[in-house]
């Protein structure tokens, strides 16, 4: 099974996520340069973290307008699973594949730390192996992860169950103390209406090895494997 990772100038988690895909689920990974005109035939697409185009103007704004993204949108519309992590999530919002926008963290500071997350939607190709309500711990590392959407959009997201991950405490309580960036309603990850496109601020690829402190990230990639296998 082949997963494409799209690389922009300034991407910097591309190598990390490639390794995670290979090691945890045995995927074949194709790295696709943003300047290529087309995304090769694949079973899933990943937009990695980093600072595409320096995150100049707005995070993900310039990357979202590169020619290759037209191809990504087409594939997403045809049902190919797409995951955006951190900068990838920002790009998906800029593209309009996901609603809302990721604003500057409320404390105005870059934040790099482990956070707890409550898994709320297990009907996506990236979260199928979790149990609803699972509390996991993986790192965040971002300056602009403060999820914002207008109230009606938020209500729609909640109503349709499109919130995938929320910042929580260790016991799963959704508290403001557990929120590292001020995101509305503690939202850490969301998906499209059909569940095929997922964006999340935390970095699952950084939590796939015990020596790095944690393996809770593995299930995102294993989920994808199972979703593609059935």
């Amino acid at each position: 099974m082949n997963v494409c990772v799209i690389i922009f100038p300034g991407s910097n988690c591309d190598r990390d996520i490639k390794l995670a895909l290979q090691k945890t689920a045995g995927f074949k990974v194709t790295m696709v340069w943003h300047g290529d005109s087309e995304v090769p035939k694949c079973d899933a697409i990943i937009l990695p973290g980093g600072f595409s185009f320096g995150d100049y103007l707005r995070c993900g704004a310039i990357a979202a307008r590169t020619p290759i993204m037209r191809c990504v949108v087409e594939k997403a519309k045809s049902g190919v699973p797409v995951l955006g992590v951190c900068n990838g999530f920002q790009i998906l919002c800029e593209l309009g594949l996901l609603p809302g926008s990721l604003m500057r963290n409320s404390r105005m500071l870059f934040v790099c730390r482990d956070v707890y997350l409550k898994v709320e939607n297990t009907d996506t190709p990236f979260t199928g192996s979790f149990e609803k309500g699972d509390v996991i711990s993986i790192p965040v590392a971002h300056h602009d992860g403060n999820f914002f959407a207008m109230q009606d959009t938020l209500n729609r997201l909640e109503g349709e169950g499109l919130v995938v991950l929320r910042y929580s405490d260790e016991a799963g309580a959704i508290t403001s103390l557990a929120n590292p960036n001020g995101a509305q309603r503690n939202i850490a990850g969301i998906c499209s209406s059909n569940g095929r496109v997922v964006g999340m601020m935390p970095h699952p690829e950084r939590a796939c090895e015990m020596v790095l402190g944690n393996t809770d990230g593995k299930l995102f990639f294993k989920s994808l494997k199972s979703a593609l296998t059935v």
Partner: protein, 80 residues
Amino acid sequence: MRAQIKISLKKDVLDPQGRAIKKALHQLGFSEISEVRQGKYFEVDIDDSLELMASKVVERMCQQLLANPVVETYSYELVD
């Protein structure tokens, strides 16, 4: 010709930067401030030959790249 473009956050959008600056201004003793909103400002030099087309071009630039329609609005002026 130069376009001076101002991008502001929409009214209902939370503005963490503006809020932080307001707080800092209060701390500095500027108690007369009731609200601060932060936006972006661009100066874009445009080919003079565009003339009347210029404002169309600026509009399109704002819509396609400079502003994020989900949370931002824009306005601009053309100067020589």
